[in-house]
């Protein structure tokens, strides 16, 4: 089913400068796979070489961190929004 993924500013250059990308998926893992299939430049910013989600990139289903749901296997519905939230350090 179609589901929205919100792309944060630092990753937009690797996602065709878009802030929202629609993917087709039944789970969060499928959604991320479809996302990097549509935008291959995103892959190295989201995943390690071993294919693990990077530890400074959090993925939320609505307002919940998928680490505390069923991770990649977390089911999604059309009403859900996936957010990618990487750490940023700026402040000065």
């Amino acid at each position: 089913m179609p589901i929205k993924v919100l792309i944060p500013t630092p990753l937009r250059p690797y996602a065709g400068k878009q802030s929202v990308i629609e993917v087709t998926a039944q789970t969060v893992g499928e959604a991320l796979n479809d996302l990097v299939a549509q935008h291959p430049d995103l892959r190295k910013h989201l995943f390690t070489e071993e294919g693990k989600l990077r530890s400074f990139v959090n993925v939320y289903l609505n307002s919940d961190d998928i680490r505390y749901l069923s991770k990649d296997a977390t089911p999604v519905t059309e009403a859900d929004t996936i957010s990618i939230v990487p750490s940023v350090a700026g402040g000065a």
Binding site: N58, V85, P86, V88, G91, A92
Partner: protein, 390 residues
Amino acid sequence: MAVLSDENQATLSNEEILRYSRHLIMPEVTMEGQKKLKAARVLCVGTGGLGSPLALYLAAAGVGTLGLVDFDTVDYTNLQRQILHHTADVGRLKLDSAIDKLKAINPFVKIERFDTYLNSSNALEIFAGFDIIADGTDNFATRYLVNDACVLSGKPNVYASIFRFEGQASIFGAKDGPCYRCLYPEPPPPGLVPSCAEGGVLGVLPGLLGVIQATEVIKLILGAGEPLIGRLVLVDALAMRFREMRIRKNPDCPVCGTHPTVKEPIDYEQFCGVRGEEADLSASAKIPEIQPEEYKRRRDAGEDIFLLDVREPHEYQICNLNGHLIPLGDLPSRVHELDSSREFVVHCKSGARSAKAVEFLRQSGFKRASNLTGGILAWADRIDPTVPKY
């Protein structure tokens, strides 16, 4: 949450009562809350983009003691957002500039200055004198240090960070609440996430986020409302949307978990791979360089040198050296536009992106490509002062 200092010691003069009258008549503050504010001791780490609105509002609100940590001097490029500092302050220590402004806003505030770079050996000692720490720093190493030192000393860390027109804010290290490592266990490798100096920042954005920090500090002191604990507020100023994510306390967190392994501040530069970044820079030092003076002499002598500018089009509009523009990110797909038999000088703003471009060109068979040392900034400094610096 109660402040650690004893609020009963604070008394307000008639002058202070008049100054804070709009607080005193609010049921959420009252005389009791204003005395708590006066008794409170808050440390602002950094007096830059976030630290400016944060410290200004805390001083105006009557926080009794403000600690300021900064080692930096005011730079012309700071003025677009660091509203503690005025044009006449360029070149002064940020601490001197900040203290003048804060004293001018509220002479009743006591200010303690820490003219130093916060590090693993001084953080716990500095934090010991304060109730609440507000993190307005600008790099991952210091952010993990502030987090760990807050958890280790049991002090809340009122946090915000910014990038371009997006920001994040939360309170870490509160009793039973998550810490920054629960949210992000590890920092990104150096270079993958651009800093404000590299990526830019909308000038008002640290204003928005610094004011969120000031609000949360004041709420913690008053014990009022719902503190931003266990929640991450995401601000998108461009869309003007505020979203909220839940942050859980990670039982396996190495600093605030049930079996902590970090029991004192560690080497955060190593943790964040900054040392590795220095090694990368020395590797790039092997990339052939040309000094601006040498390039100018050879160009003026009429030598056939192709000048390639690998910045972005919006940077080219600010200033350029009439180079051929191909942004670094487009170079792989547009390299066929270039004649590999010619000699190339490549430049960017300060020399980092063009070093990557030269490395790529040499791997692609361009045997005579070199990097203009220091980029267009060095050109402006050393060759042509009419070129604006940005």
